[in-house]
């Protein structure tokens, strides 16, 4: 009876396994029910699966890396621009300031501030001219 089998061990081992498996299959209903309840309780207690470390920190890391890259590229450029200003740009800015002052101080410019400087005589004359042009000439 102690003949060694090619797989699964000796006959003794196989018979022991068969007996144990049979006893597991023939458990009383009350025990099976308790095991099922225990299984559901364990599953219900399972914590919600959290995001992995990579999923949590890779987006934040990418944002920080992008901000750092921008700083690395633009800060030296801005510093250089401040230290060596472009003469064309500087002259343009200076000229623009002068032109603005000339526009504001020009007395012949079109009034831009509403009724305050309205030329009443001009509008009255223009109205009369328009009326005279539409009315038939006397004696014509």
């Amino acid at each position: 009876m102690s003949v060694e089998q090619a797989d699964g061990g000796s006959e003794f081992e196989q018979q022991a396994r068969a007996l144990l498996e049979q006893s597991a299959e023939q458990l009383p209903g009350a025990v099976r029910s308790r095991l099922t309840q225990a299984r559901y309780a364990a599953l219900a207690a399972q914590p919600a699966r959290r995001l992995s470390f990579a999923r949590r920190w890779v987006p934040a890391g990418a944002a920080v890396a992008a901000a750092l890259a921008l700083l690395v590229v633009y800060v030296p450029h801005m510093r250089e621009a401040a230290e060596n200003p472009n003469p064309l740009v500087t002259a343009g800015l200076a000229n623009a300031g002068l032109e603005d002052i000339e526009l504001l101080t020009d007395s012949d410019a079109v009034p831009l501030n509403g009724d305050q400087d309205m030329d009443d005589d001009f509008y009255e004359w223009a109205a009369d001219e328009a009326a005279g042009a539409t009315a038939p000439a006397v004696g014509s």
Binding site: V31, A38, L43, L51
Partner: protein, 206 residues
């Protein structure tokens, strides 16, 4: 399956609407864990029952092992669950055996010996079944009882190695991981367990 359905809905509520793939993976994980627990629960109960010789304690131990695997190790790869589960189970069995040992030592010093705490005898359990059992079943029951008693009498490491290898079907590497010892030790424990069982039982007559 109603409890499982409610579990699905509870875990699904924790996941934002735009993350449906996470919801699916969580549900798949819960289903695979349920499948795993369902596949091991009966054998785990029998292993605990043989070690503890007590049904209620065995049920408690299996429930604790399921709970701990689910709450602490469910995120591990499923191929690691089986050795982890049986290691937890064996730790729980050992805890119960230690508590019993301490209790028995304390009780030995008490004058009244706790006789009142004995479970009352259930007359229905004690009643003799008049129906004749089929001979084959009777022989099988007797063989199982003898085997169970012989396994329970083995040293803990031999019992563990024999049940994990022979009954649960773990390979040597998985058994070594479960028992936290080398593969050579597993082979030694298993061989000695077989020798002891053969010496005690002879060969089965089934």
């Amino acid at each position: 399956m109603a409890a499982f359905a409610s579990l699905d809905s509870e875990t699904a509520d924790l996941i934002p609407p735009g993350k449906a793939h996470l919801r699916d993976s969580t549900q798949d994980g819960a289903r695979s864990l349920e499948t795993f627990l369902a596949s091991v629960e009966r054998k785990a109960f029998r292993i605990a029952q043989i070690a503890l010789r007590h049904e209620a304690d065995a049920l408690d131990v299996v429930q604790d092992a399921m709970m701990q695997l689910s709450t602490r190790y469910a995120s591990r790869p499923p191929e690691e669950w089986r050795p982890l589960f049986y290691r937890i189970l064996e730790n729980r069995v050992r805890d119960v055996q230690r508590r019993r040992s301490v209790r028995n030592r304390v009780m030995a010093y008490l004058p009244w010996r706790g006789e009142d705490e004995e479970d009352p005898v259930d007359p229905i359990d004690q009643a003799v079944d008049k129906a004749p059992a089929p001979p084959a079943q009777l022989e099988s029951d007797e063989a199982m009882a003898a085997l169970e008693q012989a396994i329970a009498g083995l040293p803990a490491r031999q019992r563990q190695a024999f049940l994990l290898r022979n009954f649960e079907g773990l390979d040597v590497a998985e058994t070594a991981a479960t028992m936290k010892c080398s593969q050579g030790s597993v082979k030694t424990h298993y061989f000695r367990a077989l020798q002891a069982l053969r010496a005690k039982l002879g060969e089965f007559r089934t």
